[in-house]
Amino acid sequence: MVDRVPVLRIGDALLVSIQVDLQDRVAIQLQDDLSERIVETGAKGVVIDISGLEIVDSFVGRMLSSIASISRVLDAETVVVGMRPAVAITLVELGLYLDGVRTALNVERAFALIAARSSGASLVAQGAIDTDLPTAGTDP
């Protein structure tokens, strides 16, 4: 069990890689650390890699949503990457949809998204990836 999750700076963004099962207090610490680092570095993006997490429960889910909200206020976009299929299926069953949290399949995509945002294109929150795609209804 770890005491603290390391936060790395990569260019304009911060990268957090969660490799192990976290105690609640470590998750809370991460939230605090990230907020501080965003302000410190003026980061435009936060990438949270959860590919190492076998379990995401409501506590971690709320933490991710909080981080996304806090970052947004601090003018940085958060992208959560690497969610495992079993975790996604479980979250849906739990009824936890991580509203307001942007997700991507891997770290490369996440950085691409953040770079696109920096260059002016707007990011779309949880929902359609491309605003040209209709999000509801059947086309005949």
């Binding site: 069990m1 099962d21 976290l22 105690q23 609640d24 207090r25 076998e54 379990i55 995401v56 429960d57 409501s58 506590f59 709320r62 495992r84 299929p85 079993a86 975790v87 299926i89 479980t90 069953e93 739990l94 009824g95 936890l96």
Partner: protein, 140 residues
Amino acid sequence: MTLTEVAVEDAEVLLISADDDVVRARQATRAIAAKASLSLVEQTKVVTAASELARNTLIYGGGGQVRVELVRSARRTGVRLQFSDDGPGIKDIDLALTDGYTTGTGLGLGLSGSRRLVDEFDIRSGSESGTVITIVKWGR
């Protein structure tokens, strides 16, 4: 609710009195679930439910314990978890089990969501007697 009659094999009792214990509860559940040959998605669901309920026991029950068991019925093998505490009890169980109900820090979401993750769910709670929640997840 009546739970299926089972034969119990391995049983382990863990005390839940601190943050670290929620992680231990997850790990113990994972170990038994793997031993019961649950699929990856089934394991993820039951470990997630265990995490929710262990945290509830800690935060709302003021601490307690969980009994983790490998159980066998006529046709299947599964995991049974029993969380118990001597806390103030849940005043309105039906309300607490409704989707979207929350006492601010998410007690409701944990309960109703956890119920969807498992196959059998039994809850007994009273202000004098504390709370006992039993869940069972079956493999094939």
